[in-house]
């Protein structure tokens, strides 16, 4: 049997405890779930903050302000392969202004940083969406309906039948969102068809969502099975026993809370 280090076994036990703690919510809200939830939020926030600082702020911002050729080189140097660029004091200033939102007297300053970020994001998004989501997608729905080169029917890939479905589905679903005309009569029936296309799409999304959740459950079960191995000192079983015993005792002590 493979001998694992103490830290590996401890990590596995903690992972098993946190996983089972989250699963325990399926029974009802309880302290184990709360512990796992709070640990997850706290660790995530701290991890993101540390990673962002060491991968972006430190090398790419301070790395440019305190580069080898900077005027402050005799005081402090961060050599990350950048040249000195004084313009980077501007994002530093905006970043500090965003942090000032916690002080009531000067919290208006945060708006400048937020406005700059929103402006940049809007500009970037507008370009990407227009090019890839609007123009390219409109182009791809302009399909051939009467091509002699295409087969009439194919289970997947281009065919006249599939192109007709794409054409009718696109137009009828778009028409459903045109509210300036009453959706009645032949027009109403056509937009109703659009609703059916949308429902099929939502149904497929729901199916994929369920599939995704089951995949994640498989991932957690795989880890729990691994941690139940003798090499991990049966970590899963110990943690499962602990949580079941504690929850059972707690429910026994508080019988009025066990419902629902």
């Amino acid at each position: 049997m493979e001998q694992l280090s103490f830290s590996t076994i401890l990590g596995a036990w903690i992972a098993a405890f946190l996983t089972l703690g989250i699963f325990s919510y399926l029974y009802r809200d309880n302290p184990f779930y709360k512990i796992a939830e709070h640990v997850f939020v706290g660790v995530s926030a701290a991890y993101w903050a540390a990673t962002f600082y060491w991968t972006q702020i430190y090398p790419n911002l301070f790395g440019r302000l305190f580069a080898l050729d900077s005027p402050f080189a005799n005081m402090y140097v961060i050599d990350k392969g950048h040249e000195y660029n004084g313009l980077y004091f501007f994002p530093l200033l905006l970043g500090i202004m965003m942090l000032l939102s916690v002080f009531k007297q000067v919290n208006w300053m945060a708006r400048w940083g937020i406005a700059y970020t929103v402006g940049i994001a809007a500009g970037l998004k507008a370009f990407g969406y227009l090019s890839s989501n609007v123009i390219s997608q409109v182009k791809s729905t302009a399909v051939e309906l009467f091509s002699g080169e295409l087969a009439f029917f194919a289970m997947s890939g281009p065919s006249i039948f599939n192109n007709i479905v794409i054409f009718i589905g696109t137009i009828s679903a778009l028409m459903y969102f045109y509210f300036s005309r009453e959706q009645s009569g032949a027009y109403g029936r056509f937009t109703r068809l659009g609703v059916y296309f949308l429902m099929i799409s939502f149904g497929a999304s729901f199916g994929f969502a369920v599939m995704g959740r089951i995949s994640l459950l498989i991932g957690r079960f795989n880890d729990l099975i691994l941690f139940s191995d003798p090499s991990y000192n049966y970590g899963t079983f110990w943690m499962l026993g602990l949580i079941i015993a504690a929850l059972g005792y707690w429910s026994f002590q508080n019988p009025e809370r066990t419902e629902g």
Binding site: L26, Y27, Y47, W48, T51, F52, T55, Q56, P59, N60, G63, K80, G81, H82, I120, L124, K125, G128, Y129, S131, S132, N133, S136, Q137, K139, S140, S156, G157, S201, A204, S205, F208, A209, V210, M211, G212, I214, S215, L216, L217, I218, G219, R220, F221, N222, I225
Partner: protein
């Protein structure tokens, strides 16, 4: 008939915890005693395989790890499969790894550890782990225009200028193929909009199941060269490269879990309609 209807109504009001336990068992039992199920590649998975297969010899391939531990079961088998496929051909491809997610770095390190056990890779000769940079779509846009402004050092803080395989790599146009293992934002959408579309470099993607419906239009328009859709997509790719892994193992559990869910959806609907009919009657 009435007896049968009474049973169905009872199924409709079964405690939700019973359903949780049944789904849990349906997933757990096939994991403990594996069952072989037939896996047939879908056209979108086949497209990814063909795209990787058609990369010219001695190409530079960029793989982006845009996911974390929460979606590891779905996407990790895909990135492993893609790396195995690229390396198994022994065609001199070089792998460049980036991450748009902070925890993607650890997924990449984990994948490299697994791959290094199978292939004798040399860091900075066969692959380079460039690492994570925060900035979402701005990073992809930056890579498309000037990679060296985004990455001056790799994940281990080695200067890019001193890494031999980074010679001649200045932006995304210097890659012959890109793949993103994507669990959401930032991910496939950003790579299509700011990476593949502006440069024309072929891009394939492995996504979580939940994203498939949104990403599929990119495949149909040719903006993406196929997608691997969730765990089934990963299993199909493992089948295509003939390297069974954890995705194929998980497919029986996936299928039985779905069966239980579908069964309860049918039972729940039947119970609802029977109850409604009885209420109308009386």
């Amino acid at each position: 008939m009435r007896f049968l209807e009474d049973i169905l109504i009872k199924f409709g009001s079964v405690d939700r915890r019973v359903i949780f336990v049944l789904i849990g068992l349906a997933v757990l039992v096939p994991l403990l005693s594996p069952v072989d199920l037939a896996i047939r590649p879908t056209p979108s998975s086949q497209k990814v395989y063909d795209a990787v297969d058609s990369i010219p010899d001695n190409s530079n391939v960029l793989i982006s790890f845009d996911y974390g531990p929460s979606t590891r079961p779905e996407i990790h088998p895909m990135t492993l499969g893609i790396m195995r496929h690229i390396l198994s051909q022994d065609r001199g491809h070089k792998i460049y790894i980036t991450c748009l997610w902070p925890d993607g770095l650890y997924m990449a390190k984990d994948a490299l550890k697994t791959i290094n056990e199978e292939y004798d890779l040399v860091e900075h000769e066969d692959y380079v782990l460039l690492g994570f940079r925060p900035g979402n779509e701005a990073i992809v846009k930056g890579l498309a225009s000037d990679l060296r402004k985004v990455f001056t050092v790799d994940a281990a803080q080695n200067p890019i200028s001193e890494i031999p395989m980074m010679e001649g790599i200045n932006n995304l146009n210097d890659f012959q193929f890109m793949f993103t293992g994507s669990a959401g934002y930032p991910g496939t959408f950003e790579w299509v909009q700011y990476g593949a579309d502006p440069t024309g470099v072929p891009l394939s993607s492995g996504t979580t199941s939940i994203q498939v419906n949104e990403v599929m239009p990119y495949v149909q328009s040719g903006q993406l060269k196929g997608i691997l859709a969730g765990m089934p997509g990963a299993a199909e790719y493992e089948k295509l490269i003939e390297t069974p892994g954890i995705a194929i193992q998980g497919m029986a559990a996936q299928s039985y879990g779905h069966l239980v869910i579908v069964l309860f959806i049918i039972l729940g609907n039947l119970a609802y309609f029977i109850t409604e009919r009885r209420e109308r009657k009386y």
